[in-house]
Every structure is written in structure tokens, then in C-alpha cells.
């Protein structure tokens, strides 16, 4: 399998501030690749270098086989980009937005008409095609932009935090849309996001970036398996004995038990063993289990494990692209 994106030791500095510090990775064709990282980690800078909006300070990046610096024009023809900010023209209709971008990419008229119809159907905006974008909701606008980014049939699709600011229903709609489009077209997708559930659900592989460096890269399952396990069992019992929390503390793998009336929360390094032992102990003591939930390792745990819990509130040097109108999400 060939690589749609190859990044080798790429660096970006703004004065003394190093936003991206020697990152290397490759994205295979047809893959959905997620870039995760806290605010200011360098995700957006990285994606901007890959879509030719920022020249790298050092290192190389190939997108669809073309160098982002020396073959920028070929890269631009091969990629579709959804920037962080909502960049569709509010005064234009949904269809007009797509037409203008199709013309900017030089898509022939007959192909253009067919493609726009197909895309509007895919993002479920066909019935709204004549509406001005300013009358659409945030989720619908994002769908317009997804369609706009695909109007020239790119091979690689970059989405920079496409669901930030959307409500859960709109977010789910965007995920489903991306999965559907991906299944219909031969497309490689690179997505940056803050939402771990989004990355878990969509991405084949995930790279975690922190302080401009790549700190982890693998599939969501492997990443989850790579960190020390901490399962949380939450169980409630009908009339448990008074020493029940002490008995639960004796179960295999249990580190901590917190009781709140008849509800017990157990932290365990071995969720399955603890669950089995707890059910057996309850049966032996004739205590009825009224509810039980086991929470396994999530990508949130992986994220916190690799990036730490420190808040990223330190001041950064403002990028040249910062503006009073845009709220940048790094």
C-alpha cells in the first residue's frame, strides 16, 4: 500500500517559538488518520503546512506524492481542505458556493453539475441548495463546506476540527456523512479533533501531538491497550451488609472503593477478574446486585496519559494569522 501523506522531520518555528518540532509519520491511502493534541500542541500548524498554507522551516512533507513546497500547485489540485473557521460565503447560496469553488479548481461544466448534485445529495443538502448559507445552522454550514472541499474530487481530504462548536446531533451527522463519503470514494482523510469519541469512532489510526512533537501513533485499540489499565466498576446492591465495602476491597485487582449509600465505585487494575469475583461474593453473601456498569479504558485516558493533566494556559506568541474575527482553536 502506498502512502497518501508522508511527513519527515517537519519543523515550523515562529520566531523563537517552535510550533512543530521534528514530526514524522505516514498516512496510507484510504486511511482515516486522526491528529489529536491539546490546545497549542501544533496540530493546526502541522495541517497548514500539509495544505501549503504555511511553508515548513525544515523537513519535508509529501502529499499524494508531491512535495508541499516545491510542488505546491500539484498538492493543491490533489487535496480538499476544510479549515477551522467556517469559510463559506454567507451571502451565496449553497449551490453557488460549490459552483465558485468548482470553477476555482477548473472542474469542467458537465462534471461540475453532476458532482455538485451528487455531493449535495451525500451531505443531505439537496433541498437547501438555493438557500443562502447565512440562513443555515452551524451543522448545515459544515456540511456545505465538506461538500465544497470535495467538489473537485480530491484524493486527500484535510479536516481541521470539523465538528468543533456543533451540537451532538450535528456532530453525529457529520461523522456519518464522512463515513458514507469515504465508503463511496477513494479518499484518504486526515482529521484533527478535540473530541476523543469522534477520533475513536472515525479514525483507523491516531497520532497524538504535544508540544509540537509526536508522542504516540497507532490504532485506537492499540493505543488504549498501551496504557496501564484502570477500569471503573459501578455497582449498586439491595441491602448490603455494613462491612460490604471492606469485603469488596478484598476482591482481586481492586485499588479503591468509594461508597455512596448503596452505590459502590471500585477502581480496578483488572476489570474482568474484579467483576467476576464481585458477582460471586454477592451470590455467596445473598446480596442482590441491582445494577452494574464497567467502564473500560477510553481514548480520553490515552490522551491524558500521553499529554498529562496540566492546563495549557501559557501565553503563546500570536501567529501571523490570528485576527480579531477568528477564534483559533489549537
Amino acid at each position: 500500500m502506498t502512502n497518501a501523506i508522508e511527513v519527515r522531520e517537519i519543523v515550523k518555528r515562529f520566531g523563537n517559538f517552535t510550533a512543530v518540532d521534528g514530526v514524522s509519520f505516514a498516512v496510507e491511502e484510504g486511511e482515516i488518520f486522526g491528529l489529536l493534541g491539546p490546545n497549542g500542541a501544533g496540530k493546526s500548524t502541522l495541517i497548514r503546512m500539509l495544505v501549503t498554507l504555511l511553508p515548513p522551516t525544515a523537513g519535508t512533507a509529501l502529499v499524494s506524492g508531491f512535495n508541499v513546497v516545491t510542488q505546491a500547485d500539484q498538492v493543491r489540485r490533489a487535496i480538499g481542505v476544510i479549515p477551522q473557521a467556517m469559510t463559506s460565503d454567507l451571502e451565496l447560496s449553497v449551490e453557488e458556493n460549490l459552483i465558485i469553488y468548482a470553477k476555482l479548481y477548473g472542474v469542467p461544466r458537465d462534471t461540475r453539475t453532476r458532482l455538485i448534485h451528487e455531493l449535495l445529495e451525500s451531505v443531505e443538502l439537496l433541498q437547501w441548495k438555493d438557500k443562502q448559507v447565512k440562513h443555515l445552522s452551524g451543522g448545515m454550514r459544515r456540511r456545505v463546506e465538506i461538500a465544497r472541499g470535495l467538489v473537485h474530487e480530491p484524493r486527500v481530504f484535510f479536516l481541521d476540527e470539523p465538528t468543533t462548536g456543533l451540537d451532538p446531533v450535528s456532530r453525529t451527522a457529520v461523522w456519518e456523512m464522512l463515513q458514507r463519503i469515504k465508503s463511496q470514494r477513494k479518499l484518504t482523510i486526515l482529521i484533527t479533533t478535540h473530541y476523543m469519541d469522534e477520533a475513536d469512532r472515525l479514525c483507523d489510526r491516531i497520532a497524538i501531538v504535544d508540544h509540537g512533537k509526536l508522542v504516540a501513533l497507532d490504532s485506537p485499540l492499540t493505543l488504549k491497550a498501551s496504557i496501564p489499565v484502570t477500569n471503573v466498576l459501578e455497582a449498586s446492591f439491595a441491602a448490603p451488609p455494613s462491612d460490604w465495602d471492606a469485603r469488596l476491597r478484598q476482591l482481586p485487582g481492586v485499588d479503591q472503593v468509594v461508597r455512596h449509600e448503596n452505590v459502590f465505585r471500585l477502581s480496578s487494575g483488572n476489570g474482568p477478574a474484579t467483576t467476576l469475583a464481585m458477582m460471586e461474593a454477592a451470590a455467596a453473601a445473598h446480596v442482590t446486585v441491582t445494577s452494574l456498569s464497567v467502564q473500560s479504558t477510553t481514548l480520553d485516558d490515552v490522551f491524558v496519559h500521553y499529554t498529562g493533566r496540566a492546563l495549557r494556559d501559557t501565553l503563546q506568541e500570536a501567529s501571523v494569522t490570528d485576527s480579531p474575527f477568528m477564534i483559533r482553536r489549537r
Binding site: 505546491a72 493543491r76 489540485r77 481542505v81 469559510t87
Partner: protein
């Protein structure tokens, strides 16, 4: 160049849906034309002149009769009799009157002795226009006082006969060329510069920059769309302004055609200049902040409101490079003198060269990356 036309198409579709932009860019030049045209266009009238007659003789009465004739005829003066010169000067200082004409006690004796009889005008020179108008009116009045009762058959003194080539041009017509250029400039700033920077700040340009469009196509697209908008504004103000100012034959087809050429090249020159100024700007406050300064620096030295010959050297130097100067001159030639292209070829050449240089520089300075 099809990508350039995509930019033009986008801008024109947006423009069509923002009628407020069209109105805003036209209201200011029209209001300015009407207000300034009528405010500065008329003669000064009803200046309050105190007359302090300290002589009360027949020659003094004649001076007062002449002053009353001026007052009744051209209404330049409103006469108020004062007995006390000190009170009159106090009222002058307090702004109740504009001037004091004092006929001294020995006026009649000097008249009879033909010994340089003088009357005195004490003028409030804090307003030069008023004091000059009052002095001119009284000077001509006193010339009539000293003139012989019968005309000399063959006067010895040389005189100037003035022949005016064109019919009387009211000030509002004189202002019209500047107002047309102003309307083009307003549209260039509001419909071009401000929208360009606002789009940039909102991140809309990121969308363009990830497409294969070239720098030249992008700048040319913005320039062409800005020119179309500005031409529309200039053309409408030219027609409405001609009607308001009373330009003779405002719908003369050949003249409109020549005016259209000047409007197009002026619009292109100003939009090219604006993009050159804005090409590296990203702060939306910047075009708004420099709007007023730019307007003043370009409009007033251009000769739109006052002849350039009256300017100091530094302002004349600005006028030499100011594209407004050439646009205003071309519009004045066509609107006030109804000339052909011969009279404005120099203006058109300058504006063309200016546009080419500005657009080339803007394209070179434009950054293809963020």
C-alpha cells in the same frame, strides 16, 4: 484566467445581495456635493455693517445713500446706525456686527478741499471671506462716489475687457468632478478594501489559497470585481450629480461615452492603489482607520474643491502623484468644457500607468501563504 472570473463572479453575486453597500457608497458623495455646492457656491449677503456718521454733512449723507443702495440692491450689507464708535467696536468684537464704517468729522471739509477724504472700515478679519466681501463692496461703492458725474468720452486709463469662454459655472458644477471621483473611491474602500480585509480576517482567503489559483488571477479577480462595483457607483453619481448641479445636456451620448472611459480607468487606478495598500494588511481596523486620512490626502490636493495654484509647494507635490488630480482634471474637462479625448489624454495615460504599476506591485507583494 477562468479562475479569475470565478473570483469576479463570487464578488458580483455578493455585491448584488448587499444593496446597502451600493447606497452607502453613493450617499456621502451626493450629500457632500449638495451641501458643499450650495454652501460655498453663493455670494455673501446680509453682512451687518455699523455706520458711525460723525460728520452729518451733505457728503456724508451721500456716502450713506450709496451704502443703502448696496443694501437694497445686492443685499450684501444690512446697515445699522450707531452714534457711538466705541459701542460699535464693542459690538464688532462681540460678534453682533461684521464691520464698522466710520465717517470722520472732517470728511465734508476734506471733500470740499479735495484733500484725500477718507472713511474708515473696521473689519472683523477673523473671517477673511466676510471681511474681504465687505471691503470689496465698500471699495466699489466709494469708487462710484469718486466717479465724475458724466462719462469721459475717451478715457486715458487702460481697462481690461473680460471675455468668458464658457457659460457661468456655478460652484456645485465645479464640485461635481470631485464628487464622482469620491464616489468611486468610496466604493473602492467599502466594496473593495474593507470587504477584502474582513474576508481575510474571517479566514475566507484560506479557502482560496488552498486552490490552484495563481497570485495574478487572485489579484486580477479582486481588481476587476472592484472596478465593476466602483464604475457602477461613479456612473450613477455622474448622472444624478449632473442633474442636481444643472450640467447642460447631461445625457449627451458622446460625452457620456467619454465620461464612461474616464470612470472605468479611474476606478481601475483607485482599486489597484487600494489593493497595493491592503495587500499585507490583516487587521480589519486598518482600512477603516486609514479611510479618512486617505480621503483627505487624496481629495483635497486634487483641485476638486479649490484651485491647486493656491496650494503650498508640499501639497502641490502630493497633487502631482495623486491619481485624484488626473481623474478630477479629466472629469472637469468633459463636464465643464465638453472637450474631447485630446484634452484628457495625459490624464488617461497617467491613470493607466499608475494602475499598471500598482497592480504589478500588489501582485508581487501578495503572499500565497498565511
Amino acid at each position: 484566467m477562468s479562475r479569475m472570473w470565478a473570483i469576479v463572479e463570487r464578488e458580483m453575486r455578493r455585491f448584488r445581495r448587499s444593496p446597502i453597500l451600493i447606497v452607502v457608497s453613493m450617499v456621502f458623495p451626493l450629500v457632500q456635493l449638495i451641501v458643499l455646492g450650495y454652501a460655498f457656491g453663493g455670494n455673501v449677503k446680509h453682512l451687518k455693517l455699523a455706520i458711525v456718521d460723525q460728520d452729518h454733512s451733505l457728503p456724508a449723507v451721500r456716502v450713506r445713500e450709496l451704502a443703502q443702495a448696496v443694501s437694497a440692491g445686492a443685499h450684501t450689507l444690512d446697515l445699522i446706525d450707531y452714534a457711538d464708535e466705541g459701542q460699535a467696536v464693542t459690538d464688532l468684537r462681540n460678534g453682533r456686527i461684521n464691520g464698522v464704517l466710520t465717517i470722520p468729522p472732517d470728511f465734508s471739509r476734506r471733500v470740499l478741499r479735495k484733500d484725500a477724504p477718507n472713511v474708515a472700515l473696521i473689519a472683523d478679519n477673523t473671517d477673511n471671506v466676510v471681511s474681504a466681501a465687505m471691503a470689496a463692496s465698500l471699495t466699489s461703492m466709494l469708487a462710484a462716489y469718486g466717479a465724475p458725474p458724466t462719462m469721459v468720452r475717451r478715457p486715458a486709463a487702460a481697462a481690461l475687457d473680460i471675455v468668458e469662454v464658457y457659460p457661468y459655472i456655478p460652484y456645485i458644477q465645479y464640485l461635481l468632478p470631485g464628487s464622482i471621483v469620491m464616489s468611486i473611491f468610496m466604493m473602492v474602500m467599502i466594496g473593495g478594501g474593507i470587504i477584502f480585509i474582513d474576508d481575510k480576517a474571517r479566514g475566507l482567503h484560506e479557502g482560496y489559497l488552498v486552490t490552484p489559483i495563481t497570485k495574478l488571477e487572485l489579484i486580477a479577480g479582486f481588481n476587476v470585481s472592484g472596478t465593476i462595483k466602483a464604475v457602477l457607483a461613479g456612473f450613477v453619481i455622474m448622472l444624478i450629480g449632473s442633474l442636481i448641479a444643472g450640467v447642460p445636456n447631461p445625457f449627451d451620448g458622446f460625452r457620456i461615452m467619454r465620461l464612461a472611459v474616464v470612470i472605468v480607468i479611474t476606478a481601475f487606478a483607485l482599486i489597484s492603489m487600494m489593493f497595493l495598500l491592503m495587500v499585507r494588511v490583516s487587521d480589519p481596523l486598518m482600512p477603516r482607520a486609514i479611510f479618512g486620512v486617505l480621503n483627505t490626502v487624496l481629495y483635497f490636493p486634487s483641485g476638486a474643491v479649490y484651485p491647486q495654484q493656491g496650494f503650498p509647494a508640499w501639497m502641490q507635490a502630493i497633487a502631482v502623484v495623486d491619481p485624484f488630480t488626473y481623474a478630477v482634471h479629466a472629469f472637469k474637462s468633459l463636464l465643464l468644457k465638453n472637450t474631447g479625448f485630446d484634452a484628457i489624454s495625459g490624464d488617461l495615460l497617467y491613470l493607466f500607468v499608475f494602475s499598471t504599476v500598482a497592480m504589478t506591485a500588489a501582485t508581487l507583494l501578495f503572499k500565497r501563504t498565511l
